[in-house]
Symmetry: C2
Subunit: 183 residues, 2 copies
Amino acid sequence: MGYWNTRGLRGSALEEMINLTNTLYTQRGLAIVQKIPTPITPVEVNNINRTISKAYFGQQSTVDYIGVTQGIAICFDAKETSRQSLPLSNIHSHQIAFMKNFEKQGGICFFLVSFIQSSEVFFLPFSELKPYWDGCAMGERKSIPYDGFNKLYLVFNQKGFPLHYLETLGLFRCSQRVERNEI
Amino acid sequence: MGYWNTRGLRGSALEEMINLTNTLYTQRGLAIVQKIPTPITPVEVNNINRTISKAYFGQQSTVDYIGVTQGIAICFDAKETSRQSLPLSNIHSHQIAFMKNFEKQGGICFFLVSFIQSSEVFFLPFSELKPYWDGCAMGERKSIPYDGFNKLYLVFNQKGFPLHYLETLGLFRCSQRVERNEI
């Protein structure tokens, strides 16, 4: 995997763990998840060695991952923070719009947020991010504090999956059903 | 949109119609579908004007589009042919593997196949392509003949959508339920 200097490989350690988890999910028939590449438009292509000598970044991508697990469409983004909070400047309005539409269609959207200092990864449901995002737009705080993350939604390395987020997703869905008095 | 000379813009007229349809679907709350960009890895980036001076094509992409519509995860690929058949060399084994896994998880996979000569676009369910693919691997014919396409699954420009494939998807799902004696 190539490393470059500005965009697209932020959060790559986290991404590698997610990618490995996704590969294992596919192998074990638990989910299939596609990493969405950064949109890049080639302008000049060398057809002999298949390299690109000129290209530009296309429109911003929407989310990092889209897939399906046991009948549920999912999409999510990976975020890494070295602070004691998740700055909302990390998240863009077109991502919020995409996720809103995705949930409207019956999918489930979330973020996997890695706190580097404590080596913890949280599953952050879109519905829990949304109030912070709306608050920020109204001039309230510009980040989600560490304490704003639900400890129940910690993602662990377990059952052979480096970041077993499907387990946390299951927990989240269960709590949703409890809220709706379905259980 | 840039045009380049070898890869990635094959089928661009078809793709433009699909992209426009998808935009309208999102606006009208019928579906949200993400176009998957061709994976390209930048190696050298000019940080002043944000252009890429060296890059290479990454691993082959899996499918062209992934999304969700009314609770159903969908993924599909766009194919154009100027012949009276769809050559199976257009379709790659990693796409087949992806679609197989996607359907195993409860998603629906299909192809939108444009016959340039007759200006017709067919919705080709993965389940109908699969026997041809398997046959080809066993040394049988290397393409799907025009007559192999189900006329019921023609995709039309209707209700303001240039390629209203969701209508055809609905028809396909309905016929599946009939087959399973659910209707």
